[in-house]
Amino acid sequence: MTVYRGIDELIGETPILDVSQLSPNPNVQILAKLEGNNPAGSVKDRIAKAMIDDAEKKGLLTPGQTIIEPSSGNTGIAMAMIASQRGYPIIVVVPESVSVERRQLLEIFGAEIIFTPGEQGSNGSVRVAQQMAAEHPEWAFLYQYGNDSNPRAHYETTGPEILRDVPDISHFVAGLGTSGTLMGVGSYLKEIKKSIQIWAVEPPAGENVEGLRSLEDGFVPPVFERWGGQDLLDRKMIVRPRESIECTRMLVKEAGLFAGISSGAALAGCRKAAAQIESGVIVFVVCDYGWKYLSTGAWTSDLDSATASTEKIIYF
């Protein structure tokens, strides 16, 4: 056994679990990449480490400097964990509508939290962080939505791990947030094997964002545009909260896998893909485990009330 010298050395090299019992097609395998195994609990550990390492190397982040970052939760949690170990104060700007557990984890890792109105969704947090970063040029603004280290972390680590462990992969399915996972893994896989299909799933997050004054307040991550997202993705689909919860429950019941709600959405995308193809091997990302969503009642309440409480929070 290796003895690790720092918590961030535990990031990456996550296992893959065969959950093909959940495939609607006996000729299609479904495999789950368990990113909840990362030390701060999500796939975002990879990009947090990559962005901080890169900023240190370029001299954009110097000892004791304050970091500011907008996040719907997981990136902020991952950055706060690393910042706490490297001596950087960190301010995370989050929508009020994140789950209570995400707030608690930010506090546990010592982040200062600034809340933006829930009805503005993540777009509101991005706007406020951009303003504050402009007013405080002395702070480091690594900006996950526009930082190439985000997709690059997946291009260099997640993608190669998947291809090494599953050389016969035919489809890759992941949630679309900053687009970093899909851009990085997707670019890597398609460079090696052009035929691999890249499918994105997303929640209907924009449906009830009341704080948008007009569509001009919309947001497409710069990372998505720079990495040619529209050409890279083969399909993109909405998975609604009810179906996401149903699939999250299936993962527990059929595979003993206690995954977060966005992983249920990704499984729904896999099942849709599996039903449409003759045969194949689908890999999807279990972005995090279920702990941060217990307060939604996703596993314990009846489906209607679990859906209602999930609609009120940001879980991607």
Binding site: K44, P70, S71, S72, N74, T75, G121, S122, N123, S125, V126, Q144, Y145, G175, L176, G177, T178, G180, E202, P203, P204, A205, G206, E207, N208, V209, E210, L212, R213, S214, L215, E216, D217, G218, F219, V220, P221, Q230, L233, D234, R235, K236, M237, I238, V239, R240, I314, F316
Partner: protein, 91 residues
């Protein structure tokens, strides 16, 4: 052929507050045209000057983003549902 269209909160003021519309058409483009004919205030919200979909607007047929299907030419049939959503951040 009448297709049910779901509107996001941000667009409802341009459609007399309606959350759902029934619009006739056989492709996504025809449905969007139908919406704009009925509610001219929608035009600048949905389309760019060249008539393509606004970059901050995503349109889905049965929850599949039409940019990855046949875009405005994507066919719709009776019973399909079209959803319009603003692009928002995650992460």
């Amino acid at each position: 052929m009448s297709i049910s269209v779901r509107l996001p909160t941000v667009l409802r003021p341009h459609a007399n507050g309606e959350a759902r519309l029934d619009v006739d058409g056989g492709t996504v483009g025809e449905i969007i045209d139908g919406i704009v004919r009925k509610f001219p205030g929608m035009a600048t919200n949905l389309l760019d000057q060249d008539g393509s979909l606004h970059r901050f607007v995503n349109v889905y047929v049965n929850d599949e983003d039409v940019r990855y299907l046949e875009k405005m030419e994507t066919a719709v049939v009776d019973g399909d549902e079209l959803s319009i959503l603003p692009a928002v951040a995650g992460g």
